[in-house]
């Protein structure tokens, strides 16, 4: 493994690669800084740009964006009490009070160091575990892959949605949309209605940008339209003195950093659990273990460290199921799968075998990106703060134009721009009604894989679908699927917890 990693560094350590990692991280932080825009928007918008890059540079650039956006989101959380995305919500609890005490840069530095540490720790786990996991997954046949796919859908639907049925409904819609286009097995047309743009299926770009980026930006724009004052809150100027983190302060945070990195990595390895959950689990664990839990929420550095290390640790670990099984852990990993596919690499167990050099090159790029993240993030703090002064309406409106370009550039098709707006409308509706965008997107992305393996299973075993319960490796996955259907569908922990909370509120 060490040898392969060294070879990976040899492939990855080029000027072009480093340059795009720096650019990726800077863009990630900038997009993360803008509340309501976020890293997912940056990722969806910039995937088309990577068409023109070598695969390793493209993936390194996109990973740079993912890493940068996580720490970038902490900046508005600290300065404005307005987290860049939901994963930084817990950062506001101690970050904003610390900023109010005149130490915003101290809080931002701690957030950056913790974020880089969380990233690094989970990257190491990814490098150690990806190959053994992929080796196990190589033994899987179509029945096992179908069973794993069904488990992934159930887990993601159960954990991303408040009700399992809503999550599965979104997934089913995603799978249905993925069947539009030419049938890969027989080459016949499926629901293309004679539209040439649909022969290759619904464009991943149009769907991703419309559903994830454009709908988010439009939702923010509508909020700004209704409440223009809220869109123009700006950070207060602060005194540059007293912003340094002392060794004693950092040392006190070390156990928290390790604990949160472990929590975030574990959460990241399981599909669907999400970055926000990791952040809150990290924060909760730090508070429980603290000798002075009452100080949390008053501007404690440990609170920031706990949240940022945990949410950043999800990034690397999320790639373990992505690389080993081709199943994304969250939406960022799903988008990376899209990028891999664009560059002719099919994520899954064969990836390590067929593109080993590329994968280790990506691992090396991830480690390099952590060092770059530290330097760029630290040096750029004044710029990130300054970028918060750009009025939100200007940023959001410009992002809409970027969305149009993001779809038009690779396709040169007005149809795809129209399709992007259709998915933006769908995305807006889903956002406002609590339907999971993650489920729909992952359904769309995994639909072809599931179809392929399900069809192979049916052909191999004479249309006997019950083979999923008789094959020894598929059986545990199916039993787990049934368990999670019961758990999320009939004994929903979130439902029970919320009902208890609601009843408690009423009795007060």
């Amino acid at each position: 493994m060490i040898e392969q990693l060294i070879e990976g560094f040899a492939v990855a350590f080029t000027f072009t690669n480093l340059f795009f990692i720096v650019i990726g991280i800077a863009i990630g932080i900038l997009f993360g800084v803008m509340p309501g825009v976020g890293g997912i928007t940056a990722l969806t918008l910039l995937i088309p740009v990577t068409f023109y890059m070598a695969p390793i540079t493209a993936i390194a650039f996109l990973i740079g964006i993912t890493k940068g956006s996580t720490s970038g989101g902490a900046i508005p959380a600290i300065l404005l009490n307005a987290p860049g995305s939901s994963e930084n919500v817990a950062t506001t609890r101690d970050g904003y009070p610390l900023a109010q005490q005149g130490k915003p840069e101290k809080a931002m530095r701690m957030a950056l160091y913790s974020s880089v540490w969380g990233d690094f720790a989970s990257d190491v786990v990814l490098i150690l575990l990806a190959a053994p996991f992929a080796a196990i997954a190589l033994k899987f046949g179509p029945a096992e892959i179908t069973a794993v796919g069904m488990l992934a859908f159930t887990l993601i639907a159960g954990l991303s949605s408040d009700t399992l049925a809503k999550g599965l409904l979104a997934s089913a819609l995603g799978v249905f949309l993925s069947t539009i286009g030419l049938d890969k097995a027989e080459g016949t047309q499926r629901m293309t209605f004679g539209i040439i743009d649909l022969y290759d299926g619904i464009s991943l770009n149009a769907l991703a940008i419309g559903l994830l980026a454009l709908s988010a930006v439009l939702s923010q724009l509508f909020d700004s339209w209704r409440d223009p004052i809220a869109a123009n809150i700006k950070p207060k100027p602060y005194n540059k003195a007293e912003q340094k983190i002392t060794w004693a302060e950092f040392k006190a945070c070390i156990p928290t950093l390790f604990r949160s990195a472990y929590i975030g990595t574990f959460v990241g390895m399981l599909p669907g659990l999400g970055v926000t959950l990791a952040a809150f689990l990290g924060y909760g664990a730090a508070k429980r273990r603290s000798k002075n839990p009452e100080e949390f929420g008053t501007g404690k550095l440990e609170g920031i460290a706990a949240t940022e290390a945990a949410n950043s640790a999800v990034t690397g670990a999320n790639l373990i199921p992505t690389i080993a099984l081709g199943i994304p852990g969250n939406i960022a990993a799903a988008l990376l799968i899209g990028a891999f596919l664009i560059h002719g690499v099919t994520p899954g167990p064969f990836m390590m075998q067929q593109h080993g050099a590329l994968i280790y090159g990506i691992f090396a790029s991830m480690l390099m990106a952590n060092a770059v993240h530290l330097v760029v993030g630290r040096a750029g703090i004044p710029i990130w703060v300054l970028s918060l002064r750009i009025p939100k309406p200007i940023i959001l409106s410009c992002v809409i134009v970027l969305c149009v370009i993001g779809v038009y550039v690779p396709s040169s098709s007005f149809f795809e721009i129209g399709l992007m707006f259709v998915f933006a409308v769908l995305g807006y509706f889903m956002r406002k009604t609590g339907f999971s965008l993650v489920c729909l997107f992952i359904g769309f992305l995994l639909g072809p894989l599931l179809e392929h393996s399900l069809r192979q299973t049916m052909i191999l075993y004479d249309n006997n679908i019950f083979v999923l319960f008789t094959r020894p490796v598929a059986l545990p996955f199916m039993l787990l699927t049934l368990f999670f259907v019961w758990r999320f569908g009939f004994y929903h922990p979130a439902q029970k917890r919320k009902q208890r909370a609601l009843e408690a509120d009423k009795t007060k």
Binding site: L169, T188, F222, Y428, K432, E451, R455, K498, A501
Partner: protein, 176 residues
């Protein structure tokens, strides 16, 4: 968050309508779209036709659509307590009058913009769109507004043309 769980625009009402709509879409797909628009879907000589997976997905849409609608109906008729849903995107969950108006505005604006792109090229509709959106969302510095609205589309067009060699839609009169 919309606390009145069965009021118009609440997640429960939205669940009821969206469950019914998706289930109906599944029915339409199963009985019209797939038989009519999937080549070879009705080929009885094969076990697995190209219509296999679309049919599986359509049945799932019906099954889960009905489940979501039934659960919402049970809440509305007081047979079950509502789950206080939270948005994974940190949004306020409500699809009432305001959101319907927003959706209509979005549909109309996007239809106009996409049509304008094909007739007027990239720069003119994008400039107008930027002026409209920035002004509408409360920004009133006219100089900056006009500067951004003009410079962003022009610089994007120049950047794409000179670096990526990708032409954006052009104003047709330029060719005369």
């Amino acid at each position: 968050m919309n606390n009145n769980i069965s009021a118009a625009g609440s997640p429960t009402t939205a669940n009821l309508y969206s469950g019914v709509i998706v289930a109906l879409l599944g029915v339409i797909a199963l009985f019209w779209l797939i038989p009519e628009f999937v080549t070879g879907a009705n080929d009885t000589s094969k076990n697995l036709t190209p219509g296999f997976m679309p049919r599986v997905a359509a049945w799932c849409m019906i099954l889960f659509g009905v489940s979501v609608a039934l659960a919402a109906a049970r809440v509305m008729f007081g047979k079950e307590k509502a789950i206080v849903e939270e948005s994974e995107e940190n949004e306020e969950l409500s699809y009432g009058r305001t959101e319907v108006i927003n959706t209509l505005v979005l549909v109309i604006l996007s239809a106009i913009y996409v049509s304008a792109l094909s007739y007027l090229g990239f720069i003119i509709p994008s400039t107008i769109l930027l002026v409209f959106l920035i002004y509408l969302t409360g920004y009133r510095n006219k100089f900056v507004l006009v500067l951004v609205a003009i410079s962003v589309p022009i610089s994007l067009e120049l950047l794409l043309w000179h670096i990526l060699k990708v032409p954006l839609p052009q104003f047709p009169l330029i060719n005369f």
